[in-house]
């Protein structure tokens, strides 16, 4: 059924916490330039999958690969896995094995950025500072690891100006440019959510992972969020992976939906396919297994 170029492939991912299996043998792919939604009831293991992808957890087993460029995906993956290194970069091919990398390295090298369920802005820093901190690695290099910056080199000042321009671009986009010099903690909740998303975008990612971006938003803010996610994909070509409970966001924005329940994938397809899947309905409405069998029989499957 795969009709897209995969950007991220998750294969046989398992995550065990002591005796508890949070994710069991999960495989899915995120398409290049697509918006993919990861949904499921509470406790299904969605955030655990996110934490594995972004390096905050080390998976118990499985392979998570980010394929930036590869002539033959399967061959490149096999070669990358056989080598002891964390990534394969040669002959125009770029494959990163995320399960071997640490959290900050994943953002720095593989260019995967994320947001958090409970907003994690630098509250005591200004809105602009938040977006400049996100460009730390590029700026730190430009400042010659602080040495050029200390003597006030022109090249660093130019780099900082570019960083401010990028931040201004994103602030303009979410309509917060007039609040650039206000502390991030003083913004209303909805603005903080969108600021966190553009802060992640300032790391210039190829894959943006959003953990419940619409949580706690009112309908107007939710609509603004949908527009923002779409425009991120249209204008920068960044692929998006999002966890969401708000079905209107999931159904309207995403190209591809993956449903988890109790750490296992129960459905994978277009929003329409998933919506009609009896297993998904059962998982969400809490129907007994026998009834699912009956329902499936009735639907003639």
């Amino acid at each position: 059924m795969r009709t897209f170029e995969p950007l991220l492939t998750v294969e046989n991912l398992s995550m065990r916490f002591g005796g508890l299996v949070a994710v069991r043998d999960l495989s899915f792919a995120v398409g290049c330039g697509q918006i993919t939604a990861l949904i499921g009831p509470n406790g299904a293991g969605k955030t655990t999958v996110f934490n594995c992808i972004t390096g905050f957890y080390k998976p118990t087993s499985g392979r998570i690969a980010l394929i930036k460029r590869a002539d033959d995906v399967a061959a490149a993956l096999a070669e990358a896995t056989d080598r002891p290194r964390r990534y394969l970069r040669k002959g125009g091919q770029e494959v990163y094995l995320l399960e071997r990398m640490g959290d900050s390295e994943i953002t720095r090298r593989a260019k995967v950025a994320r947001t958090f369920q409970n907003i994690r802005l630098f509250q005591g820093m200004t809105v602009l500072e938040n977006l400049i901190v996100a460009q730390h690695n590029a700026l730190n290099l430009a400042s010659g690891y602080s040495l050029l910056g200390l003597i006030g080199a022109k090249s660093f000042r130019a780099a900082e100006k570019r960083a401010v321009d990028l931040a201004s671009y994103w602030l303009d986009k979410i309509g917060l440019i007039h609040r650039a010099d206000d502390p991030a903690g003083a913004l209303p909740y909805g603005d903080q959510r969108r600021l966190e998303i553009v802060r992640a975008m300032c790391t210039e990612p190829v894959l943006l992972c959003l953990d419940e971006p619409a949580a706690g938003l009112n309908p107007r803010e939710s609509a603004e969020l949908k527009a923002l996610i779409r425009s991120i994909r249209e204008e920068t070509g960044t692929s998006v992976l999002l966890i969401e409970h708000d079905m209107s966001v999931v159904m309207e924005v995403s190209d591809h939906v993956i449903v988890l329940d109790h750490g296992v994938k129960i459905s994978d397809g277009t929003p329409a396919q998933v919506r009609d899947c009896p297993k998904v309905i059962a998982a969400y409405l809490g129907v007994e297994d026998e009834e699912v069998v009956e329902a499936e029989a009735e639907l003639g499957q």
Binding site: F56, F116, R120, L121, T126, H136, S146, L150, R199, T203
Partner: protein, 464 residues
């Protein structure tokens, strides 16, 4: 100076307590004072010639203290409201005066710098050549050393939000490196200074590695232990450090090779001046001032560089930092290393200035004083730390000047012994009026249109 953190209670909302309630409150406080004074003050213990314990009752003193507590509470209960209003009005008056005359923190900064640059000359002009020695040495140089130490620790505690209770260890490393290098290999002060900084930075990294995963109380305990370990090594490794006896005869800094002495080749003779011990003090003062200003310049610059912003971001939220690709390990280690390096410079200067060092100078009390300077100044604020260093170090020195109080309290009264009391009082006053330090507003490191301070309640204190 915009916005003060005073919490003013709206007038008229709280009913005035009745006379009886005030009396009862005051009586309770007097009782509490008695409870405290009874075990601590009521009996003065000393030994007689036969080594026997003599208890000398001092009920009069206890009664006086209780009466003072009663009277003070009574006055506060009856007139506290007006006192508070008066204080608030005075505070508002200062703010208004500052606004009317256009005085800002910039003026304080530049004014302070001007005073610092002319300070030794002012001291000589006011106190005369004989009296100025004390003012330059005990006040000027001593305070500037603590300003520098405060700024160094401010990087670790104020900016990166990592609570370090063993900062004095780096001061000791700097001092002992200078002492050992100069007495063993005959290195000059100017060579020892950078080496001391480098050694201290290495020790900073060495301490940084094991504590990377620790937070809060655990970090504080390990850093505290580190400070004690260094001190105990200095005491016990007698072959190298001389143990508790310390290292004497550390060569004093020279003026580009010209020593400050009364000989033919001395500073005074070379420049055709009459010899005076003030020359060396002037030189030491400007040397530590230059070191402190250099430290200030570097830290102010670093705050506006990616590394400085990463420190502050780390204090705000470490997980978010890691999600943005900031390596928290290197960020923490640079904070430890640069903070330690500043401490090392200060230590090198201290060793050369005193020409004798011993582990006595590097006790936990020093770490506590430096930390108190940082906290009192307002974590992260350079100016606040400088003001707090003046208040804390200068305040302790001022106590020495209060010898005339012996006329009132008797010949046994030693004002220096009340140093810790003043220290504690300053902390209590600060907790009540300025819980986030003298300068608690955070100045943003970059701005798009307008630079505005950030209120302290939004800024995190760090996770340890």
């Amino acid at each position: 100076m915009r916005g003060n953190g005073d919490r003013r209670e709206p007038a008229g909302l709280k009913a005035r307590p009745g006379l009886f309630a005030v009396l009862k409150d005051a009586a309770l406080l007097a009782l509490l004072t008695f409870g405290l004074a009874f075990p601590l003050i009521a009996f003065n213990t000393h030994q007689d010639l036969t080594q026997g314990l003599i208890l000398e009752p001092r009920w009069g003193l206890v009664a006086t203290l209780c009466a003072i507590a009663f009277a003070a509470r009574l006055v506060w209960g009856l007139a506290g409201g007006s006192i508070r209003e008066g204080a608030a009005a005075a505070g508002g008056g200062i703010t208004q005066l500052a606004r009317a005359t256009g005085i800002t923190t910039d003026h304080i900064r530049w004014g302070g710098l001007l005073i610092l640059l002319t300070y030794p000359f002012l001291a000589v002009a006011i106190a005369g050549p004989g009296g100025a020695q004390k003012w330059i040495d005990n006040y000027g140089i001593q305070i500037l050393i603590y300003v520098m130490l405060g700024w160094g620790l401010n990087i670790v505690v104020g900016l990166a939000g990592l609570l370090d209770l063993g900062y004095v260890a780096f001061y000791a490393v700097g001092a002992y490196s200078t002492a050992l290098l100069s007495t063993t290999f005959g290195f000059s002060f100017w060579l020892c200074l950078p080496l001391a900084g480098i050694f201290a930075a290495l020790w900073g990294i060495l301490l940084g590695f094991p504590v990377l995963r620790l937070r809060g109380d655990y970090l504080a305990i390990v850093t505290l232990a580190f400070g004690e370990i260094i001190r105990l090594v200095l005491i016990n490794w007698v072959d190298v450090t001389g143990g508790a006896a310390g290292i004497p005869g550390i060569p004093r800094p020279t003026f580009f090779g010209i020593p400050f002495d009364a000989t033919e080749d001395g500073f005074a003779a070379v420049f055709g001046l009459t010899f005076s011990p003030l020359h060396r003090l002037f030189f030491l003062f400007y040397l530590i001032l230059a070191l402190a200003l250099l430290t200030n310049f570097v830290i102010t610059r670093l705050r506006k560089l990616p590394i400085g912003r990463a420190w502050e971001a780390l204090r705000e939220d470490e997980i978010a930092c890691r999600s943005l690709g900031i390596d928290s390990v290197t960020t923490k280690l640079t904070a430890f290393a640069i903070g330690a390096m500043v401490g090392g410079f200060a230590g090198a200067f201290f060793a050369a200035r005193m020409s004798f060092i011993s582990p006595e100078s590097f006790v936990f009390m020093e770490s506590a004083t430096i930390l108190a300077i940082v906290v009192l100044g307002g974590m992260g604020s350079q100016l606040g730390v400088a003001i707090a260093a003046v208040a804390m170090t200068g305040g302790a020195e001022v106590l020495r000047e209060l010898g005339f109080l012996k006329a009132i309290f008797g010949a046994h009264f030693d004002p220096e012994q009340y140093r810790l009391l003043v220290f504690g009082l300053a902390m209590v006053v600060m907790m009540v009026w300025r819980p986030r330090g003298l300068i608690s507003r955070r100045a943003p490191s970059i701005h798009l249109r307008e630079k505005r301070g950030i209120a302290a309640d939004l800024v995190k204190e760090g996770h340890g």
